[in-house]
Each structure stands twice: as C-alpha cells, then as structure tokens.
C-alpha cells in the first residue's frame, strides 16, 4: 500500500507541477558497493553490501491556484534494493525498502500573512531542534513585528516503522509532538538585516503519554551595525528543571575580507536523551566550550581560516575537577577558474581519546568532465582497536552527458583500525534541472 500511496503522491505532484511557476527535479540513480564488518570479536565477518538507490526530489513552487499564494508542493523520497548483503542502515529486514524524507504542501494566505504547511516536514525555529514530524505547521505574521507559529504532529520514524521513543532513529521519537514560537522583530533603518529578532518557544514530545521532551527556549538575533551579528539561544528542560543548552555567538566582519567569530556553548548532554529512556536518570553532566575563529579572504582565490575551542567536560569522577579539552581546525583553500585545491587540519584532545588529522583535496573541471581527489588521515592519541591511525582516499570522475544530466564514478580505498584494507565504489547518474516559466507578473 505504501507504493500505491507513493505513486499517488507523485502523480498528484505531477498534476500540480504542470501549472507551477518553478519546478525543480533531482533524480539520482546510485550504486554503492562497500565492505562492512559483522559480528563480535577481533576477526569479525566481512560482508559486501551493494545497495542500489533511486532518489527523487521534486519541488513545485508558485502553483497557480485560487486559494493560496506561493503554493508549494515538495516531495523527496527514495527506494533501495540490496544486491548483496543488507547494509547496516537499511532500517528493515527486507532487501527492498524506501522512505519519504520530506513531503508537504505549503501555501500562504491572507496576503501572505499566514503560512500553512501540511505533511512530512521539519520544524526549524526555536527549541524545536529540527524535529521531523508528520503533521502540520502554521506561521502567522501579526502587527507590530510579532510572529507566531505552532505545529503538531507525530515524530517521523524510519521506514514508517515503530514510533516508540526508544527504538526510533529520530532523536525526538515518540507518538505526539507539539509546540510553537512567539517571535518579535524590530527592523532598524539602514542595511537589510539590521534589527532585532527575539523569540520564545516550547516543544513537547510524548510517547504513549510518557514524556520524551518538555522544553522551553528563548532565541535572539541582533544586528545593530552592519558588520556585527549577535545571536543567542537558551533551552530549559521543564521536566528536569535544568538548562539543557545555551549558546552565545558573535560574528564580526572586520573587513570585507575578514570574518571573526566568537562563541560560548553550554550543553547538558543527558537532557538530549528521551526523558522516557531508562538512561536519562543516571547522569546530570554539563559541558562548556569557549572559542572563536577567523576566515580571511586573502585574495587571488586564496582563503584561509581557523578556529579553536576550549572544552570543559566532566572529570574522571563525579567529584573530580573538570577535564579540559581542546579542539582546533585550520583551513586553506585556493580556487581559480576550474581548479579548486584545499587542505584542512584537525586537532581534538578530549578525555577518552583524541586525534590529529589532515585532509587534502583537489577538484579540476575539464570542460564537461571533472576529476576530484580527496585524502584524509587521522592519527589517534590512544589506539582504536589496536591501531594508531586511519587513512582513506577517494578519487572521483564525472561527465556531463547532457544539460542537467551527469554521471559520476568514485572509488575509495583506505586502511582503518577495523579494516586493514577497504575498498568502496560509488556510481551514480544524476538528473538535476530547474524549470521556470519565464512569465514575470
């Protein structure tokens, strides 16, 4: 029946799309052949997985209709078939499976003051944490810069399977979710974007009547002067009477070419577990991170950047001093015409383990063809599965067969702590096109 529903949805979308102002189509046929381990012990079984995917995304916007402005229908879905062993993230006990990633109808009413969205979508604002629900959302613009939004639905579960909060892959699993946000915007004269956005929001998720998440939050975006943006977010778990997350961030465009960022983050990771998880009662940990970074457009296509964060994590025991960790990244990229070359560096020093890593990559466009190389190395502070490093490299080549139609072939090889030698092949044919009615009304 699911296939029937899917066909109906695609056909209905096609019907609507024929009258749309803009239609975006993205269809990918993808084959991935790889090795995966199975079973416990130092010598696990090695299996070959070869899932073949058909991934389809269609968005039709500005559908002409008598009811709503900017009527949009979006559907992104996929199906897969296992040609060899079942991959670990198949999500079912069947070789043939699939899912709907996003599927909704959205329209604007009352001179675009009311937006209604119905279907499978994510809630992006406030403390909703991108919750993925089958349901509906309404966003209303009110006088004096106020905006109110509300949503209700059922948290999405993989492959339409069980919606139990514990077994769902959705971090906000459960069988009922609702919430909303009240926001206020103050626009300031001058450059676009100057002003203040303030919001208060709530998110409640339950599973069979038991609490999964009960949070309220506040958010802020402030741009007083054109080059500086301040943003902040705080969330409070009503069920646990504790702050679950807090962030403060400042972005400063010191010059047109130089961006400086600084931020502070606080999280209570145990509060990210479902409140009906048995593991939610054993910990009340808190973590802090302070740091910043900068990105500099050096010129001549060269860009450099880096960041550093000091991390404060729980100590070895409940009464021990906090553990001090470090995280740093560095980036260098050069782009000129059809050529792009870059190098990244990573450093992580945490309580249990850490690593130093590096990555180099390059991509060259050759007319309708391209080639790309990507190699990444991590050297671990403590051995992982008895090995000190992981190295893998990927080579890709592609060709534009026709306008919007291209083919890509990639191969990956490496040596990792879990596989002395690993090989992987990815092949895909992509059709991506945007059609637009050129009528301007």
């Amino acid at each position: 029946m699911r296939i029937a529903e899917l066909l109906a949805a695609v056909a209905l979308l096609s019907a609507s799309a024929a009258r749309a102002g803009t239609i975006e189509v993205d269809a990918t046929t993808f084959l991935n052949v790889a090795q995966q381990t199975r079973g416990p012990g130092p010598t696990p079984d090695l299996v070959t997985v070869a899932p073949a995917f058909e991934i389809l995304s269609i968005t039709a916007r500005d559908l002409r209709n008598p009811l709503a402005d900017d009527l949009t229908i979006a559907l992104s879905t996929w199906g897969s078939y296992e040609l060899q062993d079942r991959r670990w993230d198949n999500g079912t006990h069947h070789d043939l499976t699939g899912d709907v990633i996003t599927g909704y109808v959205q329209g604007r009413l009352l001179d675009r003051h009311l937006t209604l969205r119905l279907g499978r979508a994510q809630v992006q604002t406030g403390v909703a944490r991108m919750i993925h629900v089958d349901g509906g959302q309404a966003i209303g613009l009110l006088p004096y810069g106020f905006r109110v939004s509300a949503y209700a639905g059922v948290p999405v579960s993989q492959r339409f399977a069980t919606r139990s909060g514990l077994r769902s892959w959705n971090p906000l699993g459960g069988d009922l979710a609702y919430g909303g946000r009240l926001g206020w915007s103050l626009a300031l004269p001058g450059a676009p974007g100057r002003g203040l956005d303030l919001g208060a929001s709530a998110n409640v998720v339950s599973d069979g009547g038991d609490p999964v998440k009960q949070e309220v939050g506040a958010d802020l975006r402030l741009r007083l002067a054109a080059p500086v943006t301040l943003s902040g977010f705080g969330a409070y778990s009503v069920y646990d009477e504790r702050i679950s997350e807090g962030t403060v961030r400042a972005d400063w465009n010191a010059t047109r070419r130089l961006l400086v960022e600084a931020d502070y983050r606080f999280v209570a990771p145990d509060l990210f577990l479902a409140r009906n998880s048995i593991l939610s009662v054993f910990s009340a940990e808190e973590r802090h991170a302070f740091g910043g970074g900068a990105t500099w457009q050096v010129g001549h296509g060269l860009r450099a950047g880096g960041s550093y964060h000091l991390q404060l994590a729980p100590g070895a025991t409940e009464d021990a001093a906090r553990d001090v960790g470090h995280e740093a990244e560095a980036r260098l990229e050069w782009e000129r015409g059809p050529m792009r070359v870059g190098a990244d560096g990573f450093f992580l020093d945490a309580f249990d383990n850490g690593y130093v890593g590096g990555r180099v990559y390059a991509r060259r466009q050759l007319g309708r063809a391209f080639a790309a190389l990507d190699a990444i190395l991590h050297v671990f502070r403590e051995d992982v599965n008895g090995e000190s490093y992981s190295l893998s490299g990927t080579a890709s080549a592609g060709y534009q067969l026709a306008r919007g139609l291209s083919a890509v072939l990639s191969g990956r090889a490496g040596t990792t702590p879990f596989l002395e030698r690993t090989f992987e092949v990815m092949a895909k044919v992509v059709y991506a096109q945007t059609y637009r009615s050129t009528e301007v009304r």
Binding site: A4, W169, D197, P211, F351, R363, Y435, T438, E439
Partner: protein, 356 residues
C-alpha cells in the same frame, strides 16, 4: 478494494489532464547565454548617456525578457557623442540574449526619481562577462524602507524567488557556516526559507529517513563541509565522547544500536556479544568492588545509550531496580534527585521499571 489504491488512477488522471496545459515558455537556469561584448566602463567614463543606447527603458513598466531596450546608434562615427571617440564604425555586433528576470521592477517609476542610472547600476557588465551585474539590494533599501518586510521575510512581492542568490550582508554564508547557521535559523527560519526549501535542509537534517550518508552520495563534492567524511566509523566514538550532544541532535539511540547490534557489541544482538575494551576489570561487580561504569555513566551517558537504551529491558534495570542487586543505593546523580519526586514515578512508565 483499499481506497488508497483508487488514489493512483485518480491522481494519474489528474496528472494527465493537467499536463495537457503547456506553460507559455519553460526555460532552465542552465541555459547558456553568450558573453557580453560591450565595454560599458569606457562609455561611462566618457560620460555617454545611458539612454543613447538604452532608449525606451524610461517607459518600461516591467522587466520583460522579450524586450531588451538595447539599440546601438547607427553610424556612430558620424553621430555625437559617439564620434568624439569613434573615427570608424565598430564592426562587432551585440549577441542576442534572453535574460530571465527574477525581480518585479518598473524603470518608468524610478528613472524620474533618481539622479543617475548608476545610483542603482553601480557595476556594469564588461566585455567577456558571462553574467549581468544586477544592482545590489542596498540600491533598493537606500531609498525604500524594506527593513520590516526583510525582518518578516516578505520578499515575494518584489522577488520572484530567491533561489540561487547568495546573501551579501545579513546571513552571509561564510566562516564556519556549518556551526553558525543554526544560531541564525532558530530566530529567522523564514528568512532561510526564502531560498531553501525543506528538501534542501532535510538532505542533512533528516537523518532518520535519509537513504545513505551524504559523504557516500556526494564523494565528488570536496568543497562541502561534511561531518562524517572519510573513515568515520573509527573516530565516531572519539567525537561522541568529546561532544555527546552533537550526535544526539540528529541520531536517536536506536540508530546507534542498529549498527552496534550487527557488530555484536550491543546486548540486542541475537548472537554472541563482545564486551568493549572499556568494560574491562573494575567496570562492574559486587558492591564494594570498583565500579568504573558508574563514573563513565555520570560523565557520558550518551555513549551508554548507544548500546543499552532498551527501556525496561536495559541491562541497568537488572541491578539498579529497587530491591535489585545494586538497588540499595539510588543510582541517580544529586541534581536528578533534587528535581524529581514521586509524581514523576507516577507520570513516567520508565521510572516504574525500577520503582514499580
């Protein structure tokens, strides 16, 4: 017959009927246009009036792709002001261009209110340029007070849509954008939605329904800041230990367990289970012996959840339930005990797994 099956022919019929309608013209972003050949800057520097070549633009009430408003004067060498520089007539011809307009704009309404075309057209295309130099939005907002519309993300009356634009000032996608975009989206998601449909956001954020890792699907996109690039299996436990909440934003415990069960490190595995190296001597045992699992759970319970989040069937319950092997001492941290009471036991079935 299931009524849902009936939807299929109905929908196909609707699709067929609707497809009979043909839009006036359907074009693609990918349409290639010839490069510009006219050197604007030389003519601007020579104070040649724009209307010498763009006659009729002052009466245009809309941007019409069928009307270009470009007409190079005949015999420039014999006509002022062209003859000031041109001794001979240029031989190059202007290539035909079919430009797609994505804003609603009336030159007729604006040209009699601004002192110069360059008030808006601050940059002009030069010979060899493939793309036009569209006036920046500051050109509009220097006169029009659009801040309120901007703040409420009501862009559509002027913009056809914002697909393909890159923000130049507010919401500029630069620096560590992967880390920073969430902070801007929480208060301003409607601004994001002006350019990005949810299908775009979901390609990263809908981890429960995604077909496969993005790194597998787009190995050629070396420019993208994918989080799980390369051999992520070997370092996922390190990243998770350093920032557990980061994983839990996208992945529920069931996702972790789906793999751990297959690898035989989770208790839900039907076959043999291998205790991880961390669960060595001193991990757990009779009361009075070392209990390293207690400190590990206090520090990073999310890692425990990757294998042990089975509700009332979780391995923790066997020992820690009231009256159980380790049930003489409450396993809850101090902060937990100060904010939970017997009402929570009544309201949450999970509590009753131990307190039933």
């Amino acid at each position: 017959m299931d009524t849902r099956i009936g939807l299929v022919p109905l929908a196909l019929a609707l699709a067929g009927a609707a497809c009979g309608y043909r839009p006036a013209k359907v074009d693609s972003y990918a349409t290639k246009q010839p490069a510009y050949t006219f050197p604007h800057s030389v003519h601007v520097d020579a104070d040649v009036a724009c209307l010498e070549c763009h006659a009729g633009i002052q009466k245009a009430t809309r941007l019409d792709p069928a009307v270009r408003h470009v007409r190079i004067p005949q015999n420039p060498s014999k006509r002022k002001p062209c003859s000031d520089c041109h001794d001979a007539n240029p031989t190059s011809k202007l290539p035909a261009r079919a430009r797609e307009f994505r804003v609603r704009f009336s030159h007729a309404d604006h040209l009699n209110r601004v002192s110069s075309c360059t008030a808006c057209h601050r940059q002009l295309p030069e010979a060899g340029d493939a793309a036009p130099r569209t006036p920046p939005m500051e050109a509009c907002t220097s006169c029009h007070v659009h801040q309120a519309a901007f703040a409420q993300a009501r862009c559509m009356p002027c913009h056809v849509d914002l697909k393909g634009y890159r923000p130049e000032s507010a919401f500029r996608h630069e620096g560590n954008w992967i880390a920073s975009h969430g902070a801007l989206a929480r208060p301003s998601a409607e601004s994001c939605a002006q350019c990005h449909d949810q299908t775009y956001c979901a390609s990263c954020h809908a981890s429960a329904t995604a077909p496969t890792r993005l790194e597998n699907l787009f190995p050629e996109r070396v420019d993208r800041g994918f989080i799980h690039r390369g051999d992520y299996v070997s370092r996922h436990m390190i990243d998770s230990g350093a920032n557990p909440a980061s994983c839990k934003r996208c992945h529920g415990s069931g996702f972790c367990d789906a793999c751990h069960a297959l690898q035989g490190v989770s208790r839900t595995a039907s076959g043999a289970v291998q205790r991880p190296a961390s669960h060595g001597p001193g991990w757990s045992g009779p009361i009075g012996t070392p209990q390293r699992h207690r400190d590990a759970a206090r520090r990073d319970i999310s890692s425990c959840a990757g294998c042990h989040d089975q509700g009332a069937d979780a391995t923790c319950v066997g020992c820690h339930r009231v009256g159980g092997f380790a049930g003489t001492k409450a396993p809850h941290p101090r902060k937990f005990l100060s904010t939970h009471d017997r009402d929570d036991i009544r309201d949450n079935a999970m509590c009753r797994a131990c307190h039933g």
